[in-house]
């Protein structure tokens, strides 16, 4: 028994959640982050805990890898590839971000062309050796790299290596002998999948952050050891699973979206806890909003993440769509006289006008103040001084240009911001073939609960939920997670010609690899193994992913699989092609070591509404309406309030619109729905 602790190191704040497994009590707190050495902020926050030795497990979400990539602060990387193909990272795919923009500048890869080297080796399209690797040439290249002195990490990517890793593995061995201080990432270990550019880009990203992440994690590991916490601390990966510091440092590209996964893991846990199988999450902060989906109680994974447009990282990660819209997004008028919101953000400097730090541009937060949805006296539980007049003046400035009233303008700002965010919801729902009417919208982050009611209406989502502690929901996710490793491999079989023996062998190898990787990190409990396959009609180039049960590929298992593919294609694309040959492209294995989960306490039963704390005028649509004000902490299980209403808590405010009702469940989560439903 002891504490499960989640720590989310963000740009401004480091959030903490601790769960006492003996008493089932949750505590949340936050303190300022320390970008110079993030560990200082973590340590500072941990001093709030009386007994560090009472920590059973501490999990960290970190943006070290993300920031190194986004700020282009990684290592000098060398790229080593097949003779004739050193320009693949620069050629990329040849298309561009917008269809009509002559000012567009193509993304630069994470490597200089002068550090791109070729080796005279070649595999054919079936993985056979056309030109064998020459050890001497590899050693000569190592000597050259050493002599030049600039290279800090190496990425190796040979054509068709996903079918046969021998050459890449050999290069890694030789480099380890010749260049022991320079880490080497090989594409077969990072992303054993076809399409050489996407694999190159992903492998380069891994090498790019490896030295930095390695150093940083080694330091943290050491300092946790000094606190006698060694072995009880883990890092969050982009796939929402935890892993050891060593495993993370060995494949840092797995940390690309470490931070935002917490909210998704917490959402998955919530989905199971309160039995709401389909959630779309909406984590709105100051500068950005993250959206993701939980479908049938499970999170979704993607392999199409991009650092910036055109620079993919294709390792499987939790599918989180981030858009640059948040409370700090600035409202402005374009050349044609249309009101626009974002993508520029006031951020922390100059900050929204109401912060009184010199910002004069109206932001979404300022608009919320004008509309009475936020209240100057209650901001962050009253801990922060807010200038309501500055907000009003800022909105008034553009209201004049639009020839609209101040409140109408503020309302338009919020609506346009909502619409931008609905665009993100649409991209994770409709663009993937999901019907919003089958979902609940889960709003968290500092600003999520303010917008969640209007967004659910705009997005055709029938109900929304504001979880407990919405401001620290991501860190809460870290106390709910498991260890997880994902592996994939290209397999290339068809329904017409399927080699069951070879494919079963490949699957067993992959399972063994993943299981070993989890065991090596010290997770020895019973493991869960999930197998999925990527299928398409022979000729298509994109796949649908379906689960496959069982250790072997058998006639019965495959017959069922092909049938399920036709059904899935019909469901996803509204047609299928009876009798067409189906191709199996990739095989994916996920191994999960489940960890003990907190049991959450329930509230006492109540009825009616909690005590009203006051009233204030809040603008909805075309006018101010008198709205009741409640405190979140007063809600009992089953109590509900009618909109228009404002529900206050320290780190956020929930807005309930007219015609809607908010009801607390047994755990204190608020469910918002239309009164008539």
């Amino acid at each position: 028994m002891g504490y499960l602790v989640g720590v989310d190191i963000g740009g401004t704040f480091t959030d903490f959640v601790s769960f006492d497994t003996a008493t089932n009590e949750i505590e949340v707190w936050k303190n300022l982050s320390t970008p110079g050495d993030p560990f200082d902020g973590v340590l500072d926050g941990l001093t709030k805990m009386e007994h560090l030795d009472g920590i059973q497990r501490l999990r960290l979400g970190t943006t070290i890898a993300t920031n190194a990539i986004l700020q282009r602060a990684g290592a000098n990387v060398a790229y080593v590839t097949t003779k004739g193909f050193r320009d693949i990272p620069f050629i990329q795919r040849g298309n561009r971000k917008a269809h009509y923009d002559m000012t567009w500048i193509k993304a630069k890869p994470l490597v200089k062309r002068r550090h791109c080297y070729e080796l005279d080796e070649r595999l054919d399209a079936k993985g056979g050796v056309l030109k064998a690797l020459d050890d001497n040439e590899v050693r000569a290249l190592a000597a050259k790299i050493k002599a030049e002195g600039a290279v800090e990490a190496i990425a190796v990517n040979f054509l068709f290596s996903y079918l046969n890793p021998a050459h890449e593995v050999r290069v890694k061995e030789i480099f380890a002998e010749e260049l022991p201080d320079i880490p080497t990432s090989i594409s077969y270990e990072v992303l054993p999948k076809w399409k050489e550019y996407e694999r190159a880009s992903t492998t380069l990203a891994d090498a790019y952050v490896k030295p930095l992440v390695g150093r940083s994690f080694a330091t943290m590991n050491k300092r946790f050891d000094e606190l006698a916490l060694g072995g009880r601390v883990a890092v969050m990966k982009s796939n929402g699973g935890e892993c050891s510091f060593d495993a993370a440092a060995a494949q840092p590209v797995q940390m690309t979206v470490s931070g935002p996964t917490g909210g998704v893991v917490a959402s998955r846990a919530l989905s199971k806890l309160i039995d709401v199988p389909n959630l779309v999450t909406f984590d709105m902060g100051g500068t950005s909003t993250d959206c993701a989906t939980i479908i049938n109680g499970e999170e979704n994974f993607t392999t199409s993440f991009e650092i910036e447009w055109g620079l993919p990282i294709q390792v499987p990660m939790i599918d989180v769509r981030t858009i640059g819209a948040g409370g700090g997004s600035i409202a402005w008028i374009d050349k044609g006289g249309l009101l626009q919101v974002g993508p520029q953000s006031a951020g922390a400097d100059p900050a929204p006008a109401c912060y009184g730090k010199g910002g004069i541009e109206p932001t979404v937060t300022d608009a919320n103040l004008v509309l009475g949805r936020l209240n100057a006296e209650e901001f962050l539980g009253g801990d922060m001084h807010i200038d309501a007049k500055a907000a009003h003046d800022a909105v008034k400035r553009i209201a004049g240009e639009l020839k609209m009233g101040v409140e109408e303008t503020a309302n338009a700002i919020v609506q346009i911001a909502n619409n931008n965010m609905v665009g993100a919801l649409r991209s994770v729902l409709l663009e993937r073939g999901h019907d919003p009417r089958d979902f609940s919208l889960l709003g968290f982050g500092g600003a999520g609960p303010l917008h969640v009611n209007e967004l659910m209406v705009l997005g055709n989502i029938p109900q929304s939920i504001v979880p407990i502690n919405p401001g620290q929901f991501s860190a809460f996710g870290f106390v709910m997670t498991d260890a997880r490793t994902d592996k994939q491999r290209t397999i290339q079989q068809t329904s017409a010609r399927f080699d069951q023996e070879v494919s079963t062998g490949l699957m067993s190898d992959l399972v063994e690899m993943a299981v070993n990787e989890v065991r090596e990190q010290g997770y020895s409990d019973e493991l869960e193994i999930y197998r999925t396959v990527d299928l398409r009609y022979l000729g298509q180039n994109y796949e649908l992913q379906l689960p496959y049960g069982g250790d072997d590929f058998t006639d019965a298992g495959l017959t069922d699989l092909w049938k399920r593919f036709h059904e899935a294609h019909q469901a996803r694309f509204n047609f299928h092609i009876p009798g067409e040959t189906i191709e199996m492209v990739n095989l994916s294995i996920a191994v999960v070591a489940p960890s003990p989960k907190p049991t959450l306490t329930t509230l006492a039963k109540g009825s009616g509404s909690p005590k009203k704390k006051g009233e204030r005028a809040v603008w909805f649509d075309k006018a101010f309406e008198k709205s009741s004000v409640y405190d979140r902490a007063d809600f009992l299980d089953g109590q509900q309030v009618d909109g228009p209403a404002i529900i206050r808590e320290s780190a956020s405010t929930t807005v309930v619109c007219p015609g809607y009702v908010a009801r607390a469940d047994a755990y204190g989560n608020l469910h918002i729905a239309n009164k008539r439903s």
């Binding site: 004739g84 050629i91 269809h99 193509k106 399409k195 044609g336 249309l338």
Partner: protein
């Protein structure tokens, strides 16, 4: 007008179009769709005006309004039933070229047509003289594949099997064609469904009114941009180097007349139509002119038919910019289009150089091939697209290896290409010193070398810029030309198609038989430079030398380092 509703509806409709495109990409069979993304999805109103589109292929976007209007003219609205889908590819009925297959699905709201969901895609194999659709030596439209006037391929939700049988009997790769056409249908099905939801949510009249407001808004924004250009008459010309039939160049000549907030692009000085397939239909010339102007104006203007209202085009019938039936024209849409767009950009560069770009490589390579795959015994056909160097700009170098502005296509990965087709890719490398020199140099071109692994592959090509270099601007130098070279098995010399196979044109030819071990090298052009090379920032120049884009000798001789 309700500006908030406009903003909401515009982004909603654009994301519907995007969703249609994702469906197309994910379900189609040919690499020209699923890797290259040579398609466009749009929503039109019942008059055939485009009201929204997503960021796919500009050539098809600009061509859409004329295509939709021609279809509605031939097939009046009262002939449609709910659940119908019309297929149409005829260049002589408002289309762009035969491979461009367009599907229209009417959107019915309460028994009345409100608009159409539209998907346009380039079908890789369309029958005709050569596998892969681009016949460099065609002299009639009939050589270029099967023409399909507007026909109901789906009637009241039921597929018309007779039309399917007719279509699929006339192409070399029916299984692939079926997959691609089915994907295009799936896209308009989706577009229609989504638009119906939008109509029922906001009310049909509100949506129609808002779409009209949106088009007016885009027109206003375009006019505001055009007003910034000084009034005047600005001429420019460029050449299509030959037509595959006769060895002589064809002039594309424009006079851009700018008065107030109107633009007239007059192409009257252009060459008479060619015997070979480089002719542009009127639809192509409109699309190319729109394309140039949309590239020189604010990218944030919503892309709908309102953008096109301030722009008029004069293109006399019987010229290379408005071809008469039944001349061939498959290359007009890929090669002549960027040449036309380039002349408009070049003309306006006189007065708004800060918004211009020197010539880009302005070809898609259009290397097409087919044959019977030794391993699968199935007929294959491929339309392979290659990319070029973009021209230098007043504020930045041209992008290296980037699709010409009439497409927004991707190159096909080596690993996909070799798995599908019996070629081995030997190399794919940037060309040092290919960039047009300038204060801002162009992007570089590349070469790609292929070795044939099949007993036979039949190849054809429809490209340009092998003889006429891409021009520079403001003292920038021309960029390097492209080439297609052959080395027969056992030989040791690279020859062009004229030298090796006696073809009239090295860039436009049909049905060359490539045998096992023969090699083909595609050399893609760069663009032109912008500004005097002597003024190039020395730091950037030194970086170019270290990075291998500019040789030390060129840095000295041309840039004066």
């Amino acid at each position: 007008m309700d500006p908030v509703m406009m903003k909401i509806l515009d982004s909603t409709m654009v994301s519907v179009c995007r969703e249609m495109g994702i469906t197309l990409m994910q379900t189609s069979y040919s690499t020209i769709f699923n890797e290259a993304l040579d398609f466009t999805c749009a929503i039109a109103n019942r008059d055939g005006d485009m009201i929204a589109c997503a960021e796919f292929c500009p050539a098809q976007i600009g061509g859409m309004p004329l295509m939709a209007k021609s279809m509605v003219k031939e097939m009046p609205l009262d002939q449609f039933d709910e659940g119908d889908i019309v297929l149409h590819n005829d260049p002589y009925r408002g289309g762009l070229h035969t491979p461009e297959h367009t599907f229209f699905k009417p959107i019915f709201v309460n028994g009345e047509i409100r608009g159409f969901a539209v998907s346009i895609g380039h079908i890789a194999e369309v029958g005709g003289m050569v596998p892969g659709g681009f016949c460099g030596e065609a002299t009639e439209i009939f050589h270029e594949g099967l023409r399909v006037p507007p026909v109901k391929i789906v009637s009241k939700g039921v597929h018309n099997k007779d039309i399917w049988r007719l279509l699929l009997a006339n192409v070399r790769t029916p299984r692939y064609n079926y997959g691609d056409l089915r994907a295009l249908i799936s896209a308009v099905d989706l577009g229609e469904r989504r638009m119906k939801e939008i109509y029922s949510k906001y009310g049909a009249d509100v949506v129609d009114q808002t779409c009209n407001d949106l088009m007016d808004y885009s027109e206003r924004r375009m006019r505001a941009e055009i007003s910034q250009i000084p009034d005047g008459i600005y001429p420019f010309e460029d050449l299509v180097e030959d037509d595959g039939i006769e060895d002589r160049p064809y002039k594309i000549s424009v006079e851009v007349h700018k008065t107030g907030d109107d633009i007239v692009a007059d192409f009257s000085g252009s060459a008479k139509q060619a015997k070979g397939p480089i002719n542009a239909t009127l639809g192509v010339t409109l699309s190319a002119t729109y394309n140039a102007l949309l590239h020189m104006t604010d990218p944030s203007i919503p892309k709908n038919s309102g953008c096109f209202r301030p722009i008029r085009v004069v293109a006399p019938a019987g010229t290379i910019v408005n071809v008469n039936y039944p001349a061939p024209e498959v290359g007009g849409n890929t090669e002549t289009h960027p040449r036309i767009a380039g002349t408009v950009i070049g003309a306006l560069a006189n007065v708004i150089p800060h918004l211009a770009m020197a010539a880009e490589g302005a070809t898609h390579g259009n290397f097409v091939f087919g044959g019977v795959h030794a391993a699968t015994k199935e007929f294959f056909a491929c339309y392979d697209i290659e990319v070029v160097g973009w021209g230098g700009r007043s504020f930045a170098d041209g992008n290296d290896a980037c699709d010409s502005i009439n497409g927004n296509c991707r190159v096909t990965p080596v690993e996909v290409f070799e798995v599908r087709y019996p070629w081995r890719v030997e190399d794919w490398v940037f060309r040092e010193d290919s960039a047009g020199a300038g204060k801002f140099r162009s992007g570089v071109g590349y070469t790609k070398t292929l070795t044939c692994l099949n007993d036979e592959i039949i190849i054809s090509q429809m490209t340009d810029r092998h003889k006429v270099a891409p021009w520079g601007l403001n003292g920038g130098l021309p960029g390097d030309k492209g080439a297609t070279l052959f080395m027969l098995s056992g030989a040791n010399e690279w020859l062009d198609a004229s030298q090796a196979y006696g073809k009239i044109s090295p860039s436009k030819y049909s049905n060359i038989s490539i045998r096992k071990g023969d090699r083909v090298r595609l050399v893609m052009p760069a663009g032109g430079g912008f500004g005097d090379p002597k003024e190039r920032d020395r730091e950037s120049l030194r970086e170019d030398v270290v990075e291998g884009y500019v040789s030390a000798k060129a840095a000295q001789d041309i840039y004066g380092l």
